[in-house]
Symmetry: C2
Subunit: 226 residues, 2 copies
């Protein structure tokens, strides 16, 4: 079982993973984890020694199958805790992330499975990110586009929101925009690139920045696993 620190490196590598599969640089990992380059170089060597990543000096690094399994498991633990803390224990957005960040490293497999069961095997976390199952399988996600890139007049389902800002989550909660809801794009203003949507006959104007943080799909998704 890798240390908390090692789990965080593996998770950062998994999440930072690029679409083109090119190796990540140690610098990218360092900046993501907010530690020095030096620490990352050193850790890269250790992780490579234990077969968790593939690493060539000056060339970057990528997860091995073994490392990926661990990373996916950490992400499973994180996302289940986030959902649990928000829905069951009613923590707010700001608290949920930080708390899950700690809990993900110290929860036994058994505890996580119990939480999974309690929540009835959810497929998505509160931001719409997929929750890997016990075997590391991710649920299918429909293809999503940014709300800012939608077509006027069409209907969409809200599938995912950027999880990096609690401010955004609070705002969306306040205006009543929830995941999986159907919306209609009423208009898009050239002037400021804001998007006007219809949500249950209510008209809402979303700024460019907000519209770029909301991911929608033309098809809805099946939420439960069984």
């Amino acid at each position: 079982m890798p240390s908390i620190s090692k789990e965080n490196y593996l998770k950062a590598i998994f999440i930072g993973n690029r679409a083109d599969k090119k190796p990540l640089t140690t610098t990218e990992i360092a900046s993501r984890l907010e530690i020095s380059n030096a620490a990352t170089s050193e850790m890269a060597r250790k992780l490579a020694d234990s077969g968790l990543i593939k690493y060539e000096k000056y060339k970057g690094l990528r997860l091995t199958k073994k490392g990926e399994r661990i990373a996916v498991n950490v992400i499973r633990r994180h996302r289940l805790w986030e959902l649990f803390l928000l829905k069951v224990l009613k923590l707010n957005w700001a608290e949920v992330h930080d708390e899950a960040e700690k809990l993900e490293h110290i929860s036994s497999e058994k505890l996580i499975d119990k939480i999974d069961e309690f929540l009835n095997y959810p497929k998505f976390d509160p931001h719409g990110e997929p929750i890997p199952d016990k075997n590391g399988e991710l649920p299918n996600l429909p293809k999503t586009i940014k709300l800012s890139e939608t077509e006027i007049g069409k209907e969409y389902f809200v599938i995912k929101v950027d999880d990096s800002s609690n401010e955004l989550m609070n705002y969306l909660t306040k205006i009543g925009l929830k995941l999986y809801e159907k919306i209609k794009v009423a208009d898009k203003l050239k002037f400021d690139n804001s998007v006007i949507i219809m949500l249950k006959s209510k008209q809402i104007n979303l700024s460019k920045k907000v519209a770029e943080s909301i991911f929608v799909s033309e098809s809805s998704i099946n939420l439960s696993r069984n």
Copy 2:
């Protein structure tokens, strides 16, 4: 905020605290935490430096008010988590303790308060140990005696059980003996010092060892805080 390690020392000192209030020895703490004497001596110095314990070399140590506040808070976190894991997430006795042992150190005040609220401000953990409230106040406990020291023919309420053995907890669960239940001492056998009790018209023979691990009172207790 003290480190996990420091919290464990403070907790061990609080729990090991003697009735006569005499200072504990570093050796006692070391054995409780299963670490070397040397480590404990060193830590005693550090804790004394930060004003969490009073420590005189070769003379033993005791908590200061400040140290006690922290210890009680750790115990609050532990006992709330134990109850939560057992009742809500249905972990078994063996898992509950180890898990709580980790969770108690990384849970924010806010999270603990939410758990407290979810459980409706319980006064006792699953072993019958009192749960300190947010201010560190412990609920009143009735005077208890060991089941092995009761009088034949009298009725008692089960108040507390020794929390050091999961085996015992499993056994009590199996025979259906729960906390707060009323029992009648039917007989006590001189032969093997076992105790025969009536539990809801069912007769159960408890061995000397079991009877010494169960604490009872003649009066029942008020379970909820409000």
